[in-house]
Amino acid sequence: MTTTQILADRRAHIHEKGTAPFNIACEKQSVAGSVSQRACVFCGSRVVLYPIADALHVIHGPIGCAAYTWDIRGAWSSGPQLHRMSFSTDLQEKDVVFGGEKKLYQALVELIEHYRPKAAFIYSTCIVGLIGDDVEAICRRVSAETGVETIPVHSEGFKGSKKDGYTAACNALDQLVGTGDTTGISPLSINILGDFNIAGETWVIKDYYKKMGVDVVATITGDGRVDDIRRCHGAALNVVQCSGSMTQLAMKMKQEYGIPIIRVSYFGIEDMSKALYDVAEYLNDKTVMKNTQNLVRDEVSNLVPQLRKYKHDLQGKRAAVYTGGAFKALSMIRSLRTLGMKTVIAGSQTGNKQDYKRLQELSDEGTVILDDTNPLELAKFLEEKKADLLIGGVKERPIAYKLGLGFCDHNHERKIGLAGFEGMLNFAKEVHGTVTSPVWKLASLRDRLVDRHRLLDGDRSRNGNRFVEGGNAS
């Protein structure tokens, strides 16, 4: 299909739209020996639970697992910052031989006494799974003795992929849900699931709901609070974004409390508007619907003219999207279209069949769809497809730059909120900034020499610049 050399085992994970009937392999363990961009179960649990800011997060294991997850995710909290500390049992050799239970117990007692958190999450890492510490029993004991609910998170890294970490996190959250008092919760109320308040995004979304007249009971995974989660089963609806991470909790709540679920995305004009309308429609309240119409109309009419100048410069540029789950890639493709851009590569670390199917339906002919790719493969496709932009995470960023293309972080390390209508404007600015950056013209010395005259003789009077001649010194 292409000149890219592809690992034989990888072929099934790659699909080029229009070349064959769609049947992508996914949800598999990475091939051993590949430079996979994926992470582990622990990583999945940690990123999901991390934003619960008034809980204690203790990592039971050797130091590394804790050190690498210390405050790397910009999940903002409007109050407590306890989640940004890094607590580790820092297991030593003797603990591995004799077990780490005593150490864990002691650490928990010390910490809980000192910080008096609202709850504590205890993450098991690979080694704990292997040495067989009874974390469950320790947690029960600590809960009983301290009165602070201490919840084990079964996140041993080798027990699957990041997705299994989401499951472990949902199970842990499930212990809290349903333990609080729900009196006074409005029937026009929702929970926000799967938004992590990166760069304050949850606040933007929450504000929209407020304007619609909808109460938000709990923002479980972004600026989260233990007490809100305890009573979130009183909400009328669970609104789930980032389908991978929180769907299971929502499903449980549906079974146990009959709370219905809608799945949304807050990225891009279309998906954002649809999310709000879906919620309004579900709640079936005239005022809410009216408010929603007003809100969307105001926001969109404010936004669209501002996007024009970016779209002008970006028209026809080619983008590659590589995300954690595939659902998010859908919104990305739509948002890029809004900016006049074409997605030539779309992929994810852990997408499922259904999402990939929708992804390829949405894609143009010739778009390459990738599951669990590696840098070499990604770089080859970026070159072949002549991408101007890569959207991805920390490990993808330097690859894009080395190739001389623009990059936009749509993962934990984004520093600017990309959700909501204002997020779309930020997205446009960021994409524009990186794709049209002069640095790419400077990249190649040879091209630069050929281009020298043009580069030096730019029309100085353009763009509203003023060059004021100084008077001659007499």
């Binding site: 050399q5 690992l7 363990q29 990475s30 091939v31 051993a32 020996g33 590949s34 430079v35 996979s36 994926r38 992470a39 582990c40 622990f42 990583c43 294991g61 050797p62 130091i63 590394g64 697992c65 804790a66 050190a67 690498y68 210390w70 910052q81 940004r84 500390m85 890094s86 049992t89 820092d90 030593q92 603990d95 591995v96 005593k102 002691q106 650490a107 010390e110 910490l111 000192h114 910080y115 890492t125 690979c126 080694i127 292997l130 890294g157 080798f158 027990k159 840098p375 070499l376 770089a379 070159e383 920390v394 490990k395 960023r397 330097p398 690859i399 080395k402 190739l403 990249a443 190649s444």
Partner: protein, 463 residues
């Protein structure tokens, strides 16, 4: 917002807990060292997460792609061992990524399971998974032992174990092995420059210059141009001597090389600061007939000149520093030479020798210093000390920024990781010129602060 509002000034002795660690785990050190071999792909024998974290952290620090493969352990491997994964892994790596060397390190998981890497590597060779002329090396890096620095040391030693060969009894005159220790790519370049100026043929290993500070060429190159080649590594066994910089990171490799190939070795402090650089130059003189070129003398003179010009601003300033032992010892020495006062010195890397070494460089002149090592020597502890008695300057990695903000103390970033600034990859802090850069950064911190804080009447134009 007091981000660390949880920190109180009572220093609580903790037994079982590390809060905000001043270290990380062994494998990342092994990975960093392995990237200093030309066309080498590090391989993490364990589950995917570790590898992903190590690569991300290196990428954040260097702003470069950090390549490494993983055995992708599953539940099955945790029960039956990771042999099948590593075999398949090596096959995949050599057929797709085509490195010259695969450097395998273990993780907590594979260590605890007890996989025997050399035996698996032999099996891979027997099965024909390792092409002619390609090499697989390994080291053990359980993270419940040591820290990232010892992981670096282990992989560096593995280079000796696997490559160094003594081909003659006659050692090659003027060929010196330099083991630079865990320093930045720019430091490795600087060290090489000094060796060259001294008229010597140095073999520097590992050497991440040209790998983790690679230029942008508008093409993706999985193996950038830098790194020590296999030929060079083999030839280390014929060198006239080895200079190991930093006992923790470089000592074990130098010792192994001495035992294996009878190459005499000297383990020195990392050449950070004036005195440690002097020691390094002295050691090189033994191999070049004693010459010190005028260029180096002039660099040294310039450094002393700078220090004399600005000594009033250094005088008596107190410093808290944290990071890796080899770095801390040399930095402490330099601060003392600048007439500053190191006050708190903290490393998460366990090992009692550290305290002795710090004691030596402090001598009798500096008093009331608190130095601590090991699991509870963490950033929380350091913060508590600072709350009790403030310092004028912080020197350490990015994780100091919380304390810097909360206590309004300037932070000079040095060490690993630095994930919120650039410069460390490109501008050395080793050698005399590196020391000048450190001086510049220290002075900028103090003088900027003075400009910011001084009332209008004493706001000075000239300083």
């Amino acid at each position: 917002m007091a981000l660390l509002r949880h920190t109180t000034d009572d220093v609580v002795e903790r037994q079982a807990l590390t809060v905000n660690p001043a270290k990380t785990c062994q494998p990342i050190g092994a990975m960093y060292a392995a990237l200093g071999i030309h066309r080498c792909l590090p391989h993490s024998h364990g589950s995917q997460g570790c590898c992903s974290y190590h690569r991300s952290t290196l990428s954040r620090h260097y702003k470069e792609p950090a390549m490494a493969a993983t055995s992708s352990f599953t539940e099955g491997s945790s029960v039956f061992g990771g042999q099948a994964n590593l075999l398949q892994g090596l096959n995949t790596i050599f057929s797709v990524y085509k490195p010259d060397v695969v450097a395998v390190h273990t993780t907590c998981l594979s260590e605890t399971i007890g996989d025997d890497i050399p035996q698996i590597a032999d099996a891979a060779v027997a099965k024909g998974f390792v092409p002619e002329g390609k090499r697989v090396i390994h080291c053990n890096t359980p993270s419940y032992v040591g820290s990232h620095t010892t992981g670096f040391a282990n992989m560096t030693k593995a280079m000796v174990d696997y490559f160094s060969t003594s081909t003659t009894d006659e050692k090659i005159d003027g060929q010196v092995n330099i083991i630079p220790g865990w320093v930045e790519p720019a430091d490795m370049s600087e060290i090489k420059r000094l060796v060259k100026l001294m008229g010597l043929d140095g073999i520097t290993f590992p050497d991440t210059s040209g790998v983790l500070d690679a230029p942008l060429k508008s093409e993706y190159n999985m193996y950038p141009d830098g790194g020590t080649t296999i030929d060079q590594l083999e030839s280390t066994g014929d060198s006239a001597g080895t200079i190991a910089l930093g006992p923790i990171c470089s000592g074990p490799a130098a010792e192994a090389l001495k035992n294996k190939c009878q190459v005499p070795q000297e383990t020195l402090p990392l050449p950070i600061g004036l005195r440690a650089t002097d020691i390094f130059i002295q050691a090189l003189r033994k191999y070049n007939g004693g010459e010190v070129p005028a260029e180096i003398t002039a660099e040294r003179g310039r450094l002393v000149d700078l220090v004399s010009d600005m000594s009033q601003y250094f005088y008596g300033k107190t410093v808290a520093l944290w990071g890796d032992p080899d770095q801390l010892v040399s930095l402490t020495q330099f601060l003392v030479d600048l007439d500053m006062r190191p006050k708190y010195i903290v490393t998460g890397t366990p090992g009692k020798a550290f305290l002795r070494r710090i004691g030596e460089v402090l001598g009798d002149s500096v008093k009331e210093v608190i130095a601590k090592q090991g699991p509870q020597a963490d950033m929380l502890y350091l913060h508590q000390l600072i709350k009790r008695e403030k310092v004028d300057l912080l020197i350490g990695n990015t994780y100091g920024k919380y304390i810097s903000r909360d206590e309004d103390i300037p932070l000079l970033r040095h060490g690993f990781p630095i994930i919120d600034r650039i410069g460390h990859q490109y501008f050395p802090t080793t050698g005399y010129r590196g020391a000048m850069r450190l001086c510049e950064k220290i002075l900028d911190a103090f003088l900027d602060r003075q400009d910011r804080d001084s009332p209008e009447e004493s706001f000075e134009l000239t300083m």
